[in-house]
Symmetry: C2
Subunit: 238 residues, 2 copies
DNA sequence: ATTATCTATAGATCTATAGATAATGC
DNA sequence: ATTATCTATAGATCTATAGATAATGC
């Protein structure tokens, strides 16, 4: 295996180990075993455990532009607000489950919140913070169209409150055994949490009913995620 | 120092160490230093590091009844819904900041979500899950009074969605440097997140405006928390 | 010749214990 | 006499490196 390939394979194997155990508890032996190499080889590719960890963070956080493009193309208004919130929930609550990185991303995110928050910041900014101007514009247009009521909640909060709800819901599903008793299936829970968020943001009930149609949004948003490489391309039989 | 006193003092000193570093990264040396004793003495009181950790969890999760009593005394209806959500936000988002256990509880909670979730479960059930029947009754009364709209969100979710939002907001404040850019001060953010939650739950705008009066709720709920020992009793000059 | 990889191990650190000493209460 | 506490250290494990060996490409 070439140096570059091996390097990549070590990183790939290390992600779930760090995600599962945390930086301190993941031993170089664990990492070597996961990658199927000797501990010594780890140190040919990375000067230290810290360096390997830093490289992982960098790789995962590197942004991609397809989500950017999708959001930029939206017309300001209530419908776009619904689409953005749907997108956020899909990425945060759902994609990480099916994504190759699986449970690793949410785990790395909270491990980072226990420390300096840097990973969470680097992961979140290129993906979600860029939505802010679009959310602000859409909220303005929605208010002008009388589809959103006046309330003290700020545009920043219209972005982060739904994002945070999605994040907690995701964290709550990490342990094997259920932590909170929701009495709903994940997909219904997702729909209800989006509804809760849209209403919490100030959209009127008629507006939510008009634009929040999961059966239409689901394939549209799913396609964005496929293009962003966050979901496997649906099987092309041939 | 008597065995019992020393035992308590070791537990007390160990909480922030485990909270900060996590179980694996907290060394017996750290724990001994924090308690101001030798490592050997730790092992006179606890057979292992794990045992010490288990004792901490047990102590923190032991429930108290004053919150229970307050919630039980509420009359079903919109106003009680507002009070319960306010209480949840105050405990989850705010109390842990001022409480002697400070940052430790939210840290222990997410560390537990990275593992089996047991600590989170034991902490949450006696404090919040018991509110469920009251939330359900109050939601029913609110609907009957036309103060709450029909929507797919379930009563369980009326409990957990606000709780989760409060939890994420708290987690986001753990790192020194700000992770998400809210553009609001914590107390304003708390108010807005509660408003967002109440509206998300289905309360009408008029009902929220009628019952959500922070300047009145703040001292009432604060008093509950003082009685629950979650907040220092306000200074009694004399 | 160069690159990838391994075995073996140094040196540090970690958990836990053995055995000695200081402090307390009868 | 009993209880609390310490010093010293065993044994395991962890990070990282030195030096040897196998595989590759010119």
């Amino acid at each position: 295996m070439s140096a570059e390939q091996r390097r990549e394979s070590i990183i790939k194997a290390a992600i779930p180990v760090f995600a599962k155990k945390g930086f301190a508890a993941a031993t170089t032996k664990d990492l070597a075993n996961a990658a199927g190499v000797s501990e010594a080889l780890l140190y040919r590719h990375f000067p230290s455990k810290e360096s390997l960890y830093a490289n992982i963070q960098e790789q995962i956080c590197s942004s991609d532009s397809s989500i950017h493009d999708y959001v930029n193309a939206l017309q300001p208004g209530s419908e776009s607000l619904v689409k953005m919130i749907y997108l956020i929930f899909k990425i945060v609550f759902e994609v990480n489950v099916t994504h190759p990185l699986g449970r690793s991303i949410p785990r790395l995110m909270i491990q980072s919140l226990l420390e300096d928050g840097e990973f969470t910041r680097s992961f979140t900014e290129p993906r979600f913070k860029q939505m802010l101007p679009h959310i602000a514009e859409s909220a303005k247009a929605a208010r002008a169209a009388r589809e959103m009521v006046e309330m003290p909640v700020k545009d920043y909060e219209r972005l982060w409150f739904p994002h945070h709800l999605a994040m907690s819901l995701r964290l709550a599903t990490l342990p094997e055994e259920e932590v909170f008793d929701y009495a709903t299936e994940p997909s219904e829970r997702k729909r209800n949490a989006i509804w809760f968020s849209l209403r919490g943001m100030g959209l009127t009930d008629e507006t939510i009913k008009k634009y929040f149609k999961p059966e239409i949004l689901e394939p549209e948003i799913d396609d964005v995620l496929v293009r962003a490489g966050m979901r496997p391309r649906p099987g092309i039989s041939g």
